[in-house]
Symmetry: C2
Subunit: 190 residues, 2 copies
């Protein structure tokens, strides 16, 4: 049986792991770093997780899960194809550049560290998110708002949005929301 305290401790570990994996990368983060971040001994980690990789999977699943939840919640309130289009851009950049404590960045950049089995599991979660995007793009294309090659458009856009963590500075000129709107402009058919 899993007690409430164990769940809390586990959640703390995932939060710490998100931050550390983002800052230092998964491979360069040691189990000792992780343990120290929550004030326990390194051996005690393995009471909560069987392996270090299990922590990575938990972080990545949390990242994509929260992103998908946010998107579907926001989409439920959007009416027109244009509103929905704005929503997918904004939620993505808001989450990635604004509120993300690391889980989402880790999701994007640590795929090579996963075992095949774990990868398969996470791909399913990622696909659910991309399906939501696809649907919004298809509606937008039907309304003449964007180019009709929506599958490639989705890939181009998601790549371009993912890449923002490499250059976006929070102190800069644009907020994530403004940036989202400007990026949408670039592919909108007038």
């Amino acid at each position: 049986m899993t007690t409430q305290e164990e769940k809390t401790r586990r959640a703390e570990l995932i939060t710490a792991a998100s931050r550390l994996f983002k800052e230092q990368g998964y491979e360069r983060t040691t189990v000792r770093d992780l343990a120290q971040a929550v004030g326990m001994q390194s051996g005690s980690l393995f009471y909560h997780f069987r392996t270090k990789e299990e922590m990575l999977v938990a972080v990545m699943a949390a990242g994509i899960g929260e992103l998908t939840d946010r998107l579907e919640e926001a989409l439920a309130e959007a009416k027109t194809p244009l509103e929905k289009l704005k929503t997918v851009f904004r939620v993505h950049l808001d989450t990635l550049l604004g509120d993300d404590k690391g889980a989402l960045s880790v999701l994007l950049y640590e795929w090579p560290s996963l075992s095949d089995k774990a990868r398969t599991e996470l791909i399913k979660l990622r696909d659910a998110y991309e399906r939501d995007w696809q649907q919004v793009l298809d509606e937008a294309a039907a309304a003449g708002l964007v180019h009709s090659d929506t599958r490639l458009l989705r890939k181009l856009l998601l790549g371009g949005l993912h890449w923002t963590i490499q250059w976006y500075k929070a102190d800069g000129s644009s907020s994530p929301k403004e940036l989202a709107d400007r990026m949408l402009e670039l592919v909108l058919k007038k």
Copy 2:
């Protein structure tokens, strides 16, 4: 003095390192893997490179250097803004998805493994490449071919193009060149 044989050996090591770093990642590749790939003892690596990181820098510098050379060569033959635009897309995807033996992928995804000093050096090389892109986009915008927010457009496009290694399959429907043309279509103002 550096003899011809030493240069050759060094080049072999860089080639092997490109492949291994791409396949396994820099952190997961050991000096023993690298030595074995060229048939030497692990200690002997350090006759050619002072540290493992120096090998990473060499790989990344080779990746961005070759890409920039190719681009400038191809641009010299392009006349119109539209031709130049096609060229930057094609050279990028051709190199990344077609001929790259790993150096370019490593360049894109191993930044976090670099020391600050090495990073600064490589950023200069990368900026030279991006300046070429910027110039082509500016000309295209002046000719009314693309959106005028060319700085953001450059970032969106380079991100989207970089990301193709995550999903492109060589056996698939489109060649790198065809893919380049289709992607360009997505941001072309009609």
